[in-house]
């Protein structure tokens, strides 16, 4: 069985078994069906892209994975078990980290503090211990500081560590948001348009970071992106959505040759 065994990519990387599976997901907002009956899986260690025109339901899908939306119908399977309905913070504590399409950072806090919040999911010391900064709480803080410093080095943002996030330009904010997600050492990283609004150079940097994260830490990544060139370069497999439906699923090459996908992108009218 291909699904449980994993597979080898075109460039020779070994991909693991299924980490997460979306089964027959439907999402309705009142009368609007944002997602209708979509299934797909994400393998351990792969870079999985979700693409599609505006309003296709991509962000909604990411919101379901991260617990911000509850599907009207359908199941989310994670690490081999069906996930009960969960709040976003509970999903985060299961190792799912994310960024947002419209950057969501703590604007009043410094870059360092923002990234430190990424460590909240690894909090074990009791509140009382933290209040007096004692024993375990203190060691934890030190440990977390170390991991955060590594992430800062990795994403090359040492120079802005102490800057309040509100003062940063857009491109750097996106990078800080990625850093905060990485600090959680997630099992799966969800990126909603990590390169939207960036110039060519910034996009190249971001692509490199995403590839390096996947390569060095083996992090599974599920990302939404509009820039086709970038998507095809980065991802191992691609889900294509249009008007809430899945119209394609496969390697970049397979998807590129899919007639429905070509039609959707060329704007062939729907019947």
């Amino acid at each position: 069985m291909k699904d449980t065994e994993g597979y080898v990519t075109a460039d020779g990387r070994q991909i693991g078994g299924v980490l997460m599976e979306m089964k027959n997901i439907t999402l309705k907002f009142g009368g609007v069906t944002a997602i209708s009956d979509i299934s797909f899986d994400v393998h351990e260690g792969e870079i999985r892209a979700i693409i599609g025109p505006n309003g296709a339901g991509k962000s909604s899908m990411l919101n379901i994975i991260s617990g911000f939306y509850t599907p009207t119908v359908g199941e989310v399977w994670y690490k081999g078990a069906k996930r009960p309905p969960m709040k976003p913070y509970e999903v985060a504590r299961m190792g799912v980290a994310r960024t947002f399409q419209n950057i969501a950072l703590f604007e009043g806090m410094t870059v360092l503090d923002n990234i430190m919040t990424g460590r909240l999911t690894h909090m074990n010391a009791s509140i009382a211990a933290q209040a007096i900064w004692w024993g375990k709480a203190r060691n934890e803080e030190m440990e977390n500081r170390e991991i955060v410093e590594k992430v800062i080095d990795f994403l090359e943002i040492q120079a802005i560590r102490k800057t309040p996030v509100g003062r940063l330009p857009y491109g750097l904010k996106k990078r800080v948001e990625l850093a905060r997600a990485l600090a959680a050492e997630p099992s799966i990283l969800l990126l909603d348009e990590p390169m939207a609004g960036m110039n060519v150079e910034e996009k190249e940097d971001m692509s490199r970071f995403i590839l390096d994260v996947n390569d060095e830490f083996g992090t599974t990544i599920c990302l939404i992106e509009h820039d086709m060139g970038v998507v095809m370069d980065l991802s191992d497999r691609v889900v294509v959505m249009d008007y809430g439906k899945k119209i394609g699923d496969g390697t970049p090459d397979e998807v590129r040759g899919n007639q429905d996908v070509i039609d959707a992108y060329l704007g062939v009218p729907h019947d």
Partner: protein, 319 residues
């Protein structure tokens, strides 16, 4: 001409002539300033994490003081009574989160505000049933708070430092410093600040709204107990104690409802300025009693020139 002299010259002449009196005024301002800062912090923490203006803060002060004094009256040793009162404030925080906040989440802010009015009416009723409504003595000496005073003689003058006030400044100062350290250097503290900045992002990094709400209401409860003891030690324990919370309102107008620094600096500033104003301008020119309104007027004047408050980011109207 005389009025101009009274405003621009005489006060300063007097400050220079009697520096001991000036120091005394500053000291008294510092004592109330520390209490204002603490109360304002309680408001700010709750507002940042839930957009709620906690109308019940004043009654929480009364309730905490009543509980402490009441437990002592039942024969429980003073320090055990303090711990038990903290326990009661924690139970109160959990109950408010469960019974009031959780069901109302997502309702307009004004509804939540009204709910805190409900909480304060409930606490008044509960306090009266359990402990009775009459004025009580704070158990100051039983708690080991010294009652004497230290006399200093700077420049041959006289400076009176009541030991109760010294205790208030030290305990209040330590509490403010501890809160700041907690907010800045612990993960839970960071979570509280984070939630104030962006709810969505906070959820995505694993912050639980409920936990933070219980935490900030409990902190407000601790602050209520400390201010209740400090204020109750001079004024006695009765429902009139709640005014201490309203004294913090101009601090919030000045410092902003969301600024932690604003609460602390604003609290100290108002405490000191209102004493200085009353001593050097209010009393000579207006015959005194300016402390009840001065802070509000000061806040209004500052807001005329800085609509965003002293520490707020500049508000740019979106059009």
């Amino acid at each position: 001409m005389d009025l101009l002299r009274d405003i621009f010259i005489n006060p300063f002449v007097e400050m220079a002539a009697m520096p001991d009196l000036f120091l005394q005024t500053l000291w008294e301002g510092l004592v109330s300033g520390v209490l204002y800062a603490l109360i304002a912090l309680g408001f700010v923490l709750i507002f940042r994490s839930s957009r709620i203006f906690n109308f019940a803060q004043g009654i929480m002060v009364v309730f905490a003081a009543l509980t402490l004094v009441g437990l002592y009256a039942y024969g429980i040793p003073a320090w055990i009574a303090v711990l038990l009162t903290l326990g009661v404030m924690f139970v109160l925080a959990v109950s408010i989160e469960r019974v009031v906040l959780r069901p109302l989440v997502g309702q307009p802010d004004i509804i939540l505000f009204m709910a805190t009015i409900g909480v304060s009416l409930f606490l008044i009723g509960l306090g009266e049933i359990i402990f009775g409504g009459e004025n009580k003595q704070m158990i100051t000496s039983e708690l080991g708070i010294p009652t004497g005073e230290t006399l200093l003689e700077p420049w041959g003058g006289l400076l009176i430092l009541p030991h109760l006030d010294i205790t208030v400044v030290v305990v209040g100062g330590v509490l403010v410093a501890a809160l700041l350290a907690f907010l800045n250097y612990t993960k839970m503290g960071r979570a509280i600040r984070a939630l104030g900045d962006d709810h969505q992002a906070a959820l995505s990094v694993g912050i639980s709204l409920q936990t933070i709400w219980v935490l900030v209401w409990f902190i407000a409860g601790i602050i209520a107990l400390v201010t209740g003891i400090a204020w109750g030690a001079r004024a006695g324990v009765s429902f009139a104690l709640e005014v201490i919370a309203y004294k913090a309102l101009p601090v919030l107008m000045l410092g902003g409802l969301e600024s932690i620094t604003g609460a602390i600096v604003g609290g100290l500033m108002i405490g000191i300025l209102e004493k200085l104003f009353d001593g050097y301008w209010g009393y000579p020119i207006l015959g005194g009693n300016t402390e009840t309104w001065f802070a509000f007027v000061l806040a209004l004047i500052v807001l005329l020139f800085r609509p965003q408050g002293l520490f707020g980011e500049r508000i740019i109207e979106r059009v």
